[in-house]
């Protein structure tokens, strides 16, 4: 038999390690690995979390956040020319005149649109623009669930403490308070919309553990939680008749002569024609930055996750925060090659599966906060050399998925994790019988645009919600708080934008901030051909790009 021949999805040498995992499983079922203290966590993070790796960041040279440390990939886009030149754009011909412009069609954008309607704005006076389809977002990909402290013995204050501890106490407390206090309301709203939560026969929510939480409060819809929420929100957006233009990206914000944000320059991605959207209020709901592949990491994120909103906001002078902290999800797929980096939900660990090394031994409590868990896995693979190397040179540790059925009865895994079961079945692996190989993968932008609890940015007329913002999660978000974030703050963005548009008058439209940004670049001596926002990553083959000529 050749070295590369696969036995039920794995080569022979990986099978040998799986046998060790099987041997220890019975014993491990009764074992609980010790939790780390705050001090031990910090030490582990400093040594092994990618955020602390030298040479991966630099300070920003321009704008109101001058001196802010962030990954090179982020600074590169902030220290880049805007995509448009003001003289190219005719602001006198307005194509869309609207009360509220929402940039981004994921969870935050859709939630904001619906709550603006509930607050009295007519659906015709709202415009959602999205560079992909409505709903295409990281929101649709979230699997494991959403946190809400919605029954005893849990409480919103306990949830608040978990959020603060997970975020290394760097969170904006006001935002963390809002997040946790309003969580039960959002569960109620989703229930009203007809969301199919995992419930018991009496209707009680089935709630599981999440990393860094001190009580079971993870609500889910199997492992399609995000998809179920997004498709319901999208359905409701269409029922309400809210206008949405797809495959149209915002390439620059527009302000009026008083400096208030007053809409955006849009680009039809297919015809490449620009158009002008004039709006009384603009909400950024553009998500995170996984597709920047910070430090070369693979990502769980969707195709459009290029932090466009952060770039647009900075062009008009909005403050940013916490962009030095990047979240790597502990358990991305590490094998086989073509699914590397895809998410394996934390709910698998919440349901009882352990993380073990090549000898089948635990090395970390499976539900530490994400940054701590990820650092422990990196240490196990690359420092202690206890990882399993894949045929393409990656390393990973085992997520012992067969434990789920042992703990919860046969058939439990398939019922709780149809998406994960499907993903591995497609590559010939049965996760109910064999463990799956995992390694941290780029997952979430912890920081972003500064907002207050009304979702106002530091620039008038500009609101923001969801992953594009910072402060809610401090330096590290806990599982189940991203869906909650876009629900709670998407709602608040919609409500507060609706209030704001009642009394605002928009003056003359300008793109002066673009000229100012060019000046900042020049004054800082930044000479570059880089342009931002990125809008979409480019994955074309190297050979093709090298030989490409632009003649058509």
């Amino acid at each position: 038999m050749s070295e590369f021949e696969l036995i039920r999805g794995y080569p022979k040498y990986m099978r040998e390690s799986i046998e060790l995992v099987e041997e220890t499983r019975e014993r491990r079922l009764k074992e609980e690995f010790r939790h780390l203290s705050l001090e031990e966590r910090e030490e582990l993070l400093k040594k092994y979390h990618p955020d602390h790796k030298e040479g991966t960041k630099r300070p920003l040279k321009i704008g109101p956040n001058k001196g802010m440390i962030a990954p090179h990939e982020v600074i590169d886009l902030l220290e880049a020319h805007p995509l448009i030149k003001p003289e190219q754009i005719d602001l006198s011909q307005v194509d869309y005149e609207t009360d509220i412009l929402i940039i981004g069609g994921g969870g935050a954008g859709m939630t904001a649109a619906l709550w603006a309607v509930y607050s009295g704005v007519s659906p015709e006076d709202i415009l959602i623009v999205t560079k992909l389809r409505l709903g295409d977002s990281n929101s649709v990909m979230s699997q494991g669930g959403v946190q809400a402290a919605d029954r005893p013995p849990d409480s919103p204050t306990r949830h608040f403490l978990d959020v603060m501890g997970g975020g290394h106490f760097a969170n904006d407390r006001q935002l963390a308070r809002t997040l946790t206090m309003e969580a039960p309301y959002m569960m109620k709203w989703l229930e009203e919309l007809g969301l199919m939560f995992d419930k018991d026969e009496e209707g009680n929510m089935i709630e599981l553990w999440g990393g860094g939480t001190s009580c079971r409060r993870m609500h889910s819809c199997k492992d399609y939680t995000g998809m179920e929420i997004v498709r319901v929100l999208r359905d409701e957006i269409r029922n309400k008749g809210i206008k949405c233009v797809e495959f149209t990206s915002a390439v620059e914000l527009i302000t009026d002569d008083e400096g208030k944000v007053a809409g955006a320059v849009l680009l039809n991605m297919e015809s490449e024609e620009y158009s002008i959207a004039k709006a009384k209020a603009t909400i950024l709901a553009t998500g995170g930055f996984g597709r920047l592949h910070i430090q070369g990491f693979p990502t769980t994120n969707h195709y459009g996750a290029t932090m466009d909103g952060v770039i647009l906001a900075y062009h008009v002078g909005a403050l940013l925060r916490d962009l030095d902290a990047t979240q790597y999800h502990p358990t991305g797929a590490a094998y086989p090659e073509h699914i590397v980096g895809l998410l394996i939900t934390e709910k698998v660990r919440g349901g009882g599966a352990q993380v073990v090394n090549k000898f089948g031994e635990q090395f970390v409590f499976p539900l530490e906060p994400r940054d701590v868990e990820a650092a422990a896995i990196i240490r196990e693979c690359w420092d202690r050399n206890n990882g399993v190397e894949t045929p393409t040179g990656m390393r990973g540790v085992w997520l012992d998925t067969p434990m789920i059925d042992l703990i919860r009865g046969e058939g439990a895994f398939k019922k709780m994790f149809p998406a994960i079961f499907r993903m591995f079945s497609r590559v010939g692996i049965d996760p109910t019988k064999d463990p799956v190989l995992v390694f941290p993968t780029l997952h979430y932008m912890n920081g972003g645009i500064v907002i207050n609890e009304r979702c106002e940015t530091t620039v008038p007329g500009l609101f923001a919600a969801g992953e594009t913002t910072g402060g809610v999660h401090g330096k590290n978000r806990l599982m189940g708080n991203s869906i909650l974030d876009y629900l709670v703050f998407g709602r608040r963005a919609g409500i507060n934008a609706a209030k704001y548009v009642k009394n605002v008058r928009i003056g003359k439209l300008t793109l002066d901030h673009v000229r100012r940004y060019e000046r900042w670049l020049e004054e800082a001596g930044i000479e570059t051909e880089r342009r931002a926002p990125l809008i979409l990553p480019d994955y074309r083959g190297k050979k093709v790009l090298m030989r490409r000529i632009d003649v058509l």
């Binding site: 419930k199 998809m227 086989p336 979409l536």
Partner: protein
């Protein structure tokens, strides 16, 4: 700490064995082991449509393909299906389908409700083409039959994993718009048939009565050191 490997590994893989595929009839040599999506990019395509989450959750990358000398038409998601030698493929960037408009608050969960909004359901000829087309392996035809019978719960449960890619809808000889029917069924089930969580109501009442305000105020005013201490000692509430 050694180098963490990510994307460069993918590059290494690309030196591996090549396979011949035909993108909309045009021949390309691409590395074996890539998904259809990555193979198209390798060949020089830059997606605007036909690419969404890249992880099997959004239904943006429906693809149909045949092999040379095989009459069968296969379907799959470009981000989840590996290229194979001799694959003739094209993507389906958009599915024209009409969604019924409704006010869920005013809908009654009666057995005929799905037929009322989507009367073309009755045209189902039970050919099972929808089921064969489904990349999620959902029993689509059974769900349609359940919809005709008015068994909303059955429809909701059978179709829970639907990613709304539209492959069933584009293949259906009866012109049924399956995924919209299923969406309505699931929302009716979630709102009217699945029992409500009573603890939610109770918790909301507690929050509104101000039960947590005092404690929250204290937490807001504490020093970070005090918060840390509280956090370390908060304990885990085991069952």
């Amino acid at each position: 700490m050694s180098e963490v490997k990510g994307l460069e590994v993918v590059e290494k893989e690309k030196e591996a064995k090549m396979v011949r595929i035909y993108i909309m009839g045009k021949e390309y040599l691409v590395p074996a082991g890539l998904t259809i999506m990555k193979a198209m990019e390798y060949a020089g395509y830059r997606f605007i449509r036909g690419c969404g989450c890249r992880g099997g959750f959004c239904g943006a990358c429906s693809t149909v393909y045949r092999f040379i000398d095989d009459y069968k038409l296969y379907t799959g998601l470009a981000c989840q299906t590996k290229v194979e030698d001799g694959m003739y493929l094209t993507q389906l960037p958009f599915v024209p389908a009409n969604k019924a408009i409704y006010d869920l608050d005013k809908i009654k969960p009666t057995p005929n409700i799905l037929l009322r909004y989507y009367p073309e359901l009755a045209r189902c000829v039970s050919c099972n083409t929808c089921t064969k087309a489904c990349p999620q392996d959902i029993e689509v035809m059974y769900a349609i039959q359940a919809a005709i019978r008015g068994d909303i719960e059955e429809v909701a449960n059978l179709t829970f994993d639907c990613i709304q890619c539209g492959l069933c809808t584009i293949r259906c000889p009866a012109e049924i718009q399956h995924y919209h029917v299923f969406q309505l069924a699931r929302r009716i089930y979630g709102k009217y048939i699945q029992p409500r969580a009573k603890h939610l109501e109770e918790r909301i009442k507690e929050i509104e009565s101000g039960k947590y305000d005092e404690e929250m105020e204290k937490l807001m005013k504490m020093s970070v050191e005090e918060l840390k201490k509280l956090y370390e000692n908060r304990g885990r509430i085991e069952d």
